[in-house]
Symmetry: D3
Subunit: 116 residues, 6 copies
């Protein structure tokens, strides 16, 4: 479970440090980020899948991890996750593969953690 | 209706020219591209939304137009499309805005065409 | 003067259409965008130069045009603009050159407009 | 032949305007750009193919056009060009397809011009 | 030799996990990836150099490592590799330098391994 | 102080290895890189801020670290750095946040080192 836990702790600690800078624009972006994934015309789950595929094609490992966590919380299945991976890999090319390797590893850790 | 029609014709004509090159790898990518958006664990509509948001954050106007067409065919509402735009703009930044301007314009043309 | 004027009109018309979608996240991003270039610890001019160089390395022609307009309003000289171009071309590579060609053309139109 | 000719004239005119800015860094990048494609351990043709594939995956239409011109001058065949396209599309994803459409169109114009 | 070995083992293990997901699109992309670097109109070596330069400008360290391995197997010289680096750095900008640092380190390990 | 020191040593060692390759184009890019941040029409500090924001939106952690070092040497305040972060995050999107987390951590180490 180490990778998942370390990731969460580092993210929280550093997000706090960023927000402590008290920059108005940054705070507005963070609040928009929370708002964007709220239920609207689209369901929370669809929105998290959109966040996941965007993070994959833009090749942001930490963003991928964050959305994988949320996807698991919303009962996304492994098969659904692989369909997101397939679209990301097709649209974004084989350079997405190394990020998919890390995503698969993280998803595994997350899923096993949840089994408990 | 000119923009929609011109876009479709150019895409078809040039895709044909690409495939006439008879390159095995390119043909395989084109066939995977068709397959990726078929119904699977995720619905066709969800997959098209994933294709749309990926195209927006990667800032590919022609890909955006293609997925907007498909989204309309699958009865996606304007409100849903705007939620996809909002996630793209948040994740991909304000550089996505000029592409959103062109997307909004194309969506309008498409929707009006459909009204008829 | 056509290019400058057309660009402004299209941007305004389409931004309106985007905001008419009444999406909360998009509206928040637009308001953060206005706020970000206000005077703060850094001057307005420095901030516009930051916006310009970011737009160049991310290769967003419309964003470049927008920031060039603002830079001219803030009395940035052609020599300063070329130093921004040089850093963009160095950091972002020769793929920035075609965008610099269009930037130079737009800057010329803007400057001549101002002479009047 | 219009597209090829227009592209060349615009590029020359605007490159001149950029260099007239007399910025030392920009001039050094332009001279490095000339030097990079000279024969070395790798042949000129291999280097132009490297320039072409880089331009395609970075999705720079004008850079693609430039390298296609050079490739034709060095007797690259259409089959070789399609193999470069296939690697670009695989590594860079389907977002490279719209750029390949424009590349195929330009290559056709170039080749027909040469037949004369 | 640790870095080279670790990289290979992780890649194999995770590629297996990805393919175990049994997604048709992903499997097709993997098979196209193998096919793309087969001898065709262009030699295997030229194709690997194309894969290498694409990976560098797209800044994918793991893809760079993979192609460096293949390049060494095909008797590419260090001087040739540096010419690929130079084109990548020129086209992709100085942001390619940190990836070149890691590439140079990996190439060294690979080459020394081969001396034995 | 470990992170700062390790980063500097690795960068120096590997830059040396790159330059030992004795490639003319690479050497010219490195010399242009030094020249670009010299005082000109814009101050050294403004130029370093331009380098910093470009590195952030292009998401190059090592480039960010390098420019943070230079910014500190030129007496940039934490508030100014946060304004650069805010523009990078707005223009480049939330995918810049993970890089900002690492930048904030590095800036902290750098600043504390300087207190001594």
């Amino acid at each position: 479970m180490t990778q998942v836990k370390e990731f969460k702790e580092y993210r929280l600690r550093m997000n706090k440090k960023i927000l402590d800078g008290d920059n108005k624009v940054i705070k507005r972006i963070f609040s928009a980020d929370t708002m964007a994934y709220d239920k609207g015309a689209l369901s929370c789950k669809t929105k998290e899948l959109l966040g996941l595929v965007s993070s994959l094609v833009l090749r942001c490992d930490d963003c991928v991890k964050y959305h994988l966590e949320k996807c698991l919380d919303l009962n996304t299945t492994t098969e659904e996750i692989h369909e997101v991976f397939s679209i990301a890999m097709l649209v974004g090319g084989t350079i997405v593969i190394p990020h998919t390797r890390r995503a698969v590893e993280f998803w595994d850790e997350l899923s096993n953690q949840n089994d408990r």
